[in-house]
Symmetry: C2
Amino acid sequence: MLGIGRLAAETGTKVPTIRYYEEIGLLPEPERTSGNQRRYAAAQVDRLRFIRHCRELGFPLNDIRALLDLSDNPGRSCDSADSIARHQLVEVERRLASLASLRQELSRMIENCAGGTVADCRVIETLADHANCISDRHGHQGPVTQVPGDQAPPP
Amino acid sequence: MLGIGRLAAETGTKVPTIRYYEEIGLLPEPERTSGNQRRYAAAQVDRLRFIRHCRELGFPLNDIRALLDLSDNPGRSCDSADSIARHQLVEVERRLASLASLRQELSRMIENCAGGTVADCRVIETLADHANCISDRHGHQGPVTQVPGDQAPPP
DNA sequence: GATAGGATCTCCAGTAACTAGAGCTTCAAG
DNA sequence: CTTGAAGCTCTAGTTACTGGAGATCCTATC
C-alpha cells in the first residue's frame, strides 16, 4: 500500500496526473486512510504503468480506456485491441511522413539564409511565400499537426 | 475588401480561427462595415497566409508572433528568425526520432498478435509490460509526445 | 420596396491532457 | 509532541482552436 507520491515515483508520473486519471475514470478510486489520503495496491501500479506505456506510444486516453477495458476482460477477442494498435500505427506513419517533409522545408529554408537583415532573409521570405512549400499544395483541410505539451522539458 | 468568409476560403482557414487570431493579436483588427462586419484588405490575406504556413511547419503561435514582428521590421537583423527556425528544426528532428522508435514498437507489437482472445494477445501483453519497450527506459520525465488536434479529419 | 437566404456578429463553453497554485490537513520520524 | 514533508480539495491556466445559440446584416431577386 503506497501513497500517491510513491506511486508517482514508481511509474514516472506526476502526482496531479494520477489524480487526473482517477477523476476521468482511468484509475479506480483507491482506498483511503482514515485521514483521507490515497493508498494504492500493486494492481494499481500495474494499471498506471500500462496507461503510461500507452501514452508513450501516443495512444489517446480514449483508446487507452478501450484497451484497459479489454485487458480487464481477457476472455474477449483481441481483434479490437489489434485494430486500435493498427490504427495508431497508421497515425504514427502519417505523422512521420508529414514531419519528414516538414524537416526538409525547414532545413532548406535555413540553408538559404545568409544572415543580413530581414529584408533579404530567406527564412522570412520562404515563410511568406507559400509557393515554395513542398507539402500539400492541393488543399489539405483540417487541423495542423502540432505538439503542444511538448515544448519545454521540465528542469 | 473581402468578408471573413472569403478570407477564410482564400487561406484555407476556418472563420472562428480568424476571429481567434484577431483576439490574440496575431491579426490586426480589420475595418468594419457600418453594420459591424469585418472587411479585409489584401495585406491581411498575406499575413494570414504567412501565419498558416508557419502553422503547417509546426511553429507555435508565440514563435509566429515573433516572426511576424520581424517581417514587419525588415531593417532588423534576421538572426532571430534564423534561430527560431533552427530551434524548430531541432524540435522536428527530435519528434521524428521519437516517432520512428514508436513505430517500431507498434509494428513489432502488431506483428506478434496472432488473433485469439485477449488472454494471449501480444498487443495487450506488450502494452502491459514496459520491459519490452525500446524507448527511453532511463527515466524520461516530462510530457508525452502527442498530437491533439490531429485525430479526426473533418468531413 | 419587401423579403428570403446565407453570411456574420458576439458570447459562452468545450476539446485533450495535463499543470500549477492557494490554503489547509495528515503522516511519520525523531 | 513537534515539525516538515507529503497529501488533500478546488480553482484556474495552458495551446490552438472548434462549435453552438441567438441575434443581426447584406445582397439578390421579385
